[in-house]
Symmetry: C2
Subunit: 198 residues, 2 copies
Amino acid sequence: MARITGSNGERTAAAIRRAALRLIHRHGFAAMNLRELAAGVGIQPGSLYNHITTKQGLLFDLMQEHMTTLLAETDAALAAAGPALIDRLRGFIAHHVLYHLERKQEVYIANFELRALDPPNAACILAMRRAYEDRLIALLEEGVAEGTLAMSDVRVTAYAMLAMLTGVCTWYRPGGRLGRAEIVALHVDLALDGIRRR
Amino acid sequence: MARITGSNGERTAAAIRRAALRLIHRHGFAAMNLRELAAGVGIQPGSLYNHITTKQGLLFDLMQEHMTTLLAETDAALAAAGPALIDRLRGFIAHHVLYHLERKQEVYIANFELRALDPPNAACILAMRRAYEDRLIALLEEGVAEGTLAMSDVRVTAYAMLAMLTGVCTWYRPGGRLGRAEIVALHVDLALDGIRRR
DNA sequence: GTCTATAAACTGATAGAC
DNA sequence: GTCTATCAGTTTATAGAC
């Protein structure tokens, strides 16, 4: 039988995660204090501890949730793409850009607050990031092997592509000159033009 | 007549800047405390204030010095390149990558600690960053106008190029698989391949 | 210019009533 | 689950002796 009381707890927990993403993205993890976070949720500072273990644990949970979602959605996008390598590569790039446009906060935090994690937590997130990078590296190697792609150094190219595609996070603002679909299309071309064999 | 006493002050000030760059790069500005900074320099915390105004003022000085140097060196690299657009563009890219390889700490701080600056200070640094971006945008527009370059959107392309070229900071380690000259050459090609008309 | 000492405010986290 | 109250430690910054 479903619980009726206590349902407020999950709404509060979700509100904490939402407010934390906003504040960490804006001020950085170290500069965000728990009083400010509690005020953003509309509860008292002490009440936070009904939903989080520590400030550090909160950051880790946010990052882990983000990386898990990113990996799962990426694999879904790859599975949904056509079987040809170029289609899967387009699928990867388009998904990466769209995901990064829609979840700027999570992406920014996962990329730049790794140093705020305790070493064991950082190792866990880093392993997930490596797994993500390996998805792209595998695609590039496949393209080189079959002869449709050409590049001097697969690993450097993969890092350069990811840096370029992630860069949209730093300047994109909803309601700007370009729509999301346009930005995605521009970046698919930018990323592919340099590596397609011709 | 040159002062003889007090010459230790400038050495201390330089040591503070050096230690601050290292600590901010490693832990972030908010997470760096002045006790740790003083210990890194080998003085007591209170003595820092003979050389800095506030912690905020220290960050601003570091960023301003970095941006001034970047702009000056970039203009020197452009002036030293051949008159042809493609040579100036190569010069810009090669200088950008090499500078970012050699001054990882400054670059990282200037890019990711902007949110730690007070609004007036942030506006000042942001204006210098815009001036830097405009150097590249002007080159791309010149290339499109003369017909040697082709791209769908100059501004998006410029941001994408800068993000890609700056990305080396996040993974480059001295003594790694690739030397600096190789990394520079790889990125010049990666950045140009997508925009040269063919 | 550096030191010691300390002010004044802020921080993450806990205890116990409701 | 939320509240009030508070602990214990840390933070930036200052004052005054040497």
